[in-house]
Symmetry: C2
Subunit: 287 residues, 2 copies
């Protein structure tokens, strides 16, 4: 997905928020806003929002010397989500269609987002996503693709959301590879964050993308990761940044996300707040 | 009030919104965002948010050739507010403390704001502002100042809000001067906008600030306006931009506003959403 002009003020807001989380003083905050504007003034053609987001958050980390400005937010999100895990399991056990509920739980966790959102209400979102219409018509293609697929790659998004992924993956009860970021970026999950959420063998094989960019910009990922990506029979991609970086990639992907910002909602052709299961052509054709 | 770093993304958002309202195509929208960043990169020390807002909105008007991008929004806001006027009058007639209700009605109208807000709910705001705590401890100083004052200057803010001012001013039932902007800026009221809301003689004497800047930046106002400002026994100043431009001016001012953005709320030392009657030292000392 391309960068929309609406993303520009959002990058500025994110830079300021990250700078403050990293403890930058007012002068450094100002410097980081100026540096963000330089990035926007020199946007390379074809860049996706996560690619520019990665540059801006790298700048914040370099200028502040804080390697993980979102560490405390991530720790708190995992703790809060783990406290909900027994309830998520109970809801799955009681669900008339456990597959659909498992998918909805995975999507509900996507509300945990320190990039797109200033604040969120986790419990209220769970209730909403469990009952809202599922749009994108991908649920049945996903069900069919899961039956066909031998190798399954699951692209993680945010820390804490990982616990909601865990509930889904426990219910799936099959081998899969769970891919996180190679280094901290916003509140995206890294290996340590995923491990803290219980995403460890034998439940999953844990790998990283080889990159600290949000989403999955394939040219920035490691050769080892790209090989896994190409070989996967089915890729479940969580969250906005994975949609932004992979929406035009020809691969068997099902995107699970909440359309939290107006730009992504417009790109999807759906209202803000939509609970989305979007399958690529490759998945739809096969089912 | 000074410009906070949080204002930077907000200026970008406003520039884009104004450009689109003026019908700018994608290239021109982009050009206007770049021009806005140039303004932010060269911020003069001591500038207030309305001064920079004025520059940005002037740029939009010049580059698009549209003299009043908010014309349709203003027309609709006045129409909607006029439809509420009978209800406002009825509430005043039934109020146990009509003065307090009149002040609350004037503040409720301040939700109509195409600058600070992307959207608002007029009827729900009226209900909220009529019953929320009034903060700033200015109600009794205002009551006393109105009893003392001979000459009264009322600084208008947004179009449509004008109708809520009219309900307050009808209830006051005394001569006063109502000051609007000299030319269109965001959805701020001009002479024509105020006249469409019924703010005409003999209810008020209608003047303009001599400037198209939001709020009342005195150095940008006409000498004639400044003379009226200096001679007024009491100045009622509506909305955020008047607070931003006059909060450090030594004059007998009572600010009536809703703290709609986090920056102004912080400057006031109050939560976002506060219903504010803030009197300057000059007003408080005299009462």
């Amino acid at each position: 997905m391309r960068i929309y002009l609406d993303c520009w003020p959002c990058f500025m807001r994110q830079a300021l928020s990250a700078a403050r989380r990293a403890g930058a003083d007012a002068d450094l905050q100002r410097h980081l806003l100026l540096a963000t504007m330089e990035q926007l003034q020199a946007l390379p053609p074809g860049a996706t929002p996560p690619e520019i987001g990665a540059r801006i958050h790298r700048l914040v980390r370099e200028c502040t010397g804080v390697s993980d400005p979102y560490a405390e937010s991530k720790r708190a999100a995992t703790e809060r989500a783990l406290a909900l895990l027994p309830e998520l399991r109970a809801r799955l056990a009681a669900a008339p269609d456990a597959f659909e509920t498992a998918v909805r739980i995975a999507i509900a966790g996507n509300i945990i987002d320190d990039g797109a959102l200033a604040a969120y209400d986790l419990e209220a979102t769970l209730e909403r996503v469990l009952h809202a219409p599922l749009v994108g018509e991908g649920l049945e293609p996903l069900r069919a693709a899961l039956e066909r697929a031998e190798s399954l790659l699951y692209l993680a998004d945010n820390t804490g959301e990982t616990v909601f992924d865990r509930a889904f993956i426990e219910w799936l009860d099959r081998p899969l590879t769970y891919a996180v970021k190679a280094a901290p970026i916003i509140n995206d999950a890294t290996r340590a964050d995923a491990e803290a959420a219980g995403l460890v063998p034998p439940l999953v094989e844990l790998i990283d993308s080889g990159s600290d960019a949000p989403g999955t910009p394939l040219p920035e990922c490691s050769p080892a990761f790209r090989e896994r990506f190409v070989k996967a029979d089915l890729i479940i991609a969580k969250g906005q940044a994975n949609y932004e970086t992979l929406s035009t990639v020809d691969a068997p992907i099902v995107f699970l996300l909440q359309a939290k910002c107006a730009v992504i909602a417009e790109d999807l052709g759906l209202p803000v707040g939509s609970v989305v299961v979007r399958a690529t052509d490759g998945v739809r054709r096969a089912s």
